[in-house]
């Protein structure tokens, strides 16, 4: 049974990591993986989604910018949810497992990238030898090893880790679990703070307030808030376009003598 479970999680992991790199389709794909995971494990997909939502919420705001990978959220999320799903635990447990796993899993990627880097010389050599067969073969071997590495990681984590994780999870005292649930609920605030930092501009304050009021007082679901957000965005877009055309007309009449320097200092 455990062997099959480990195999199933391994497969989903290989799928998740493939989609992560293929066409950068990673967006939203975690949820597909969680549903897939539940189906293969014979558990409830609804349950998997609820666990997954808690994990993704904790990861929210961790962005992968410029190929600097601070956390492997795909590995952390999938293993965290898999353990919690198999052991029928609360979302807080999934989060508790997912966060440290995601940090440890970065090592695997670093090792793979190290190997890929060493192979660059081989690719270079194959081009010098004008041997496209070897070039393509090495390319696919690398893709294969990448897939196999993550499959094995998940496979062995489930096969060898489940007993330990179970012992750990059942040893958590109830008050501790309550505290964990509270902390997991508060964690998304960090992600929100992070995202605000990235998009913040004091002139956006009215929209922030509006978004909060829509949800807090009018109890609109996020979908509704987003649609209203789109409406605001469009309004500002049209205003900006209007201003732009006026500016352009002015510029052509006055002829801005092409003085880039003035333009740089002016607001």
């Amino acid at each position: 049974m455990l062997l099959y479970q480990a195999f199933a999680v391994g497969l989903v992991m290989a799928f998740a990591k493939f989609i992560n790199a293929y066409g950068s389709f990673a967006q939203l794909m975690p949820f597909i993986s969680y549903i897939l995971l539940a189906l293969l494990l014979g558990e409830s997909p609804t349950e998997a989604l609820i666990l997954g939502a808690a994990v993704e919420l904790a990861f929210y705001g961790v962005m992968q910018i410029g190929a600097v990978l601070p956390q492997d959220t795909a590995v952390g999320g999938l293993l965290g949810v898999a353990f919690a799903l198999m052991l029928h635990q609360k979302p807080a447990v999934a989060v508790t497992l997912a966060v440290p796993i995601s940090m440890l899993a970065v090592v695997v990627w670093n090792l793979l990238k190290f190997w890929f880097t060493a192979n660059v010389e081989l690719f270079d050599k194959y081009i010098d030898q004008r041997n496209i067969k070897k070039f393509n073969r090495l390319w696919w071997i690398q893709v294969g090893v990448y897939e196999l590495a993550y499959f094995s990681l998940a496979f062995f984590a489930i096969l060898l880790g489940t007993a330990g994780v179970k012992a750990f999870v059942t040893s958590i005292p109830p008050t501790f679990l309550t505290a964990l649930t509270v902390a997991a609920g508060m964690l998304p605030a960090v992600g929100m703070g992070m995202l605000l930092k990235f998009v913040w501009n004091i002139s956006f304050l009215p929209f922030f307030i509006a978004g909060f009021v829509f949800a807090a007082y009018l109890k609109l679901p996020i979908m509704g808030v987003s649609i209203l957000g789109v409406a605001f965005g469009l309004v500002m877009f049209f205003i900006d376009r209007e201003i732009n055309t006026v500016k352009k007309n002015k510029a052509t009449t006055i002829q801005s003598s092409g003085n880039d320097e003035e333009d740089f200092f002016n607001d």
Binding site: Q27, L28, L49, P188, V190, M192, L196, F212, M223, V225
Partner: protein, 281 residues
């Protein structure tokens, strides 16, 4: 007259269609096999290899020279590769047609190097920043309730990705860099990022109210009446504590406190308040 024909000349011949499609699908692999020294350089070569083969089908030397030349460092947001890829292929075609020594291939490298950074700037801001945040927020709010609708959401989520890949490549290939210039002159991109940032900020405001939890269970009796702190706070401002917590995190992060410290701080706060009996589940 000539101007309008030039503008509309983005229809592809059958041969070009085949090439564009092949390139589109192969470009999906740009994110594989990244290395420290070349990043996506090897992937670029693998993606474009059959296209180069076709362009230089009569010139073995030029084909291998192109392979060697394009193994160079390359790194951009994979979703944005279409524009560079389309432009690069049209330049390679010119190189193939040009007589020996009349085309400077350094221009191709120059274009790739010049565009990959700025395109990554736009791509990261939009895909990781704004779009990712909105679509993920919606998805989480469905998933939280165990709603399987979430499985259909990627269809919407992937649209901008696919459209930018396809049209970026097509316009890059057919129009060259002209459309980039036009986008700058119209200021369309700045307006677009600003508009989408507004959507983002609105959604974050909503998500703080719905997705951040700060459940206060503290109760006490004052003069015989039960005093529930959460109810009092709700009367002042619903979701006041999640808002306060998010703002504190935002301010700390803006003051360059490291995210890991803020994260740990929040966890410690959650534990401390629960042990004190103020918060609970």
């Amino acid at each position: 007259m000539t101007k309008t024909t030039e503008k509309n000349n983005v229809t592809l011949t059958n041969h070009e269609k085949k090439l564009t499609k092949k390139l589109f699908w192969r470009n999906m692999f740009l994110g594989f096999n990244m290395s420290y020294t070349r990043q996506q350089g090897v992937a670029w070569d693998w993606v474009h290899q059959p296209v180069y083969r076709e362009i230089y089908k009569n010139d073995e030397d030029k084909y291998w020279e192109a392979m060697k030349r394009n193994l160079e460092f390359f790194n951009t947001t994979p979703n944005m590769v279409g524009t560079v890829s389309g432009l690069a292929v049209s330049m390679e075609e010119e190189n193939a047609k040009a007589s020996e020594g009349s085309f400077d291939t350094a221009g191709i490298s120059g274009m790739k190097i010049g565009l990959m950074g700025p395109l990554a700037g736009i791509g990261d801001t939009f895909f990781s920043g704004v779009w990712g945040l909105i679509i993920m927020g919606i998805a989480i709010s469905f998933a939280k309730k165990g709603n399987l609708v979430v499985a259909a959401l990627p269809l919407i989520a992937l649209l901008p990705n696919l459209l930018i890949r396809w049209y970026g490549q097509k316009y890059g290939y057919k129009l060259g860099s002209k459309y980039i210039q036009k986008a700058v002159q119209d200021g369309i991109m700045t307006m677009f990022t600003k508009a989408s940032s507004i959507v983002g900020v609105t959604v974050v405001g909503g998500m703080i109210a719905t997705l951040v939890k700060f459940p206060i269970v503290y109760k006490t009796k004052i003069n015989g009446t039960v005093f529930e702190l959460q109810k009092v706070l709700d009367q002042i401002l619903p979701n006041m504590m999640p808002l306060a917590l998010a703002i504190v995190c935002f301010v700390l992060l803006r003051k360059n406190v490291s995210p890991v410290k803020v994260l740990l701080g929040v966890v410690v706060l959650g534990f401390a308040l629960t042990f004190l009996g103020i918060t609970g589940a």
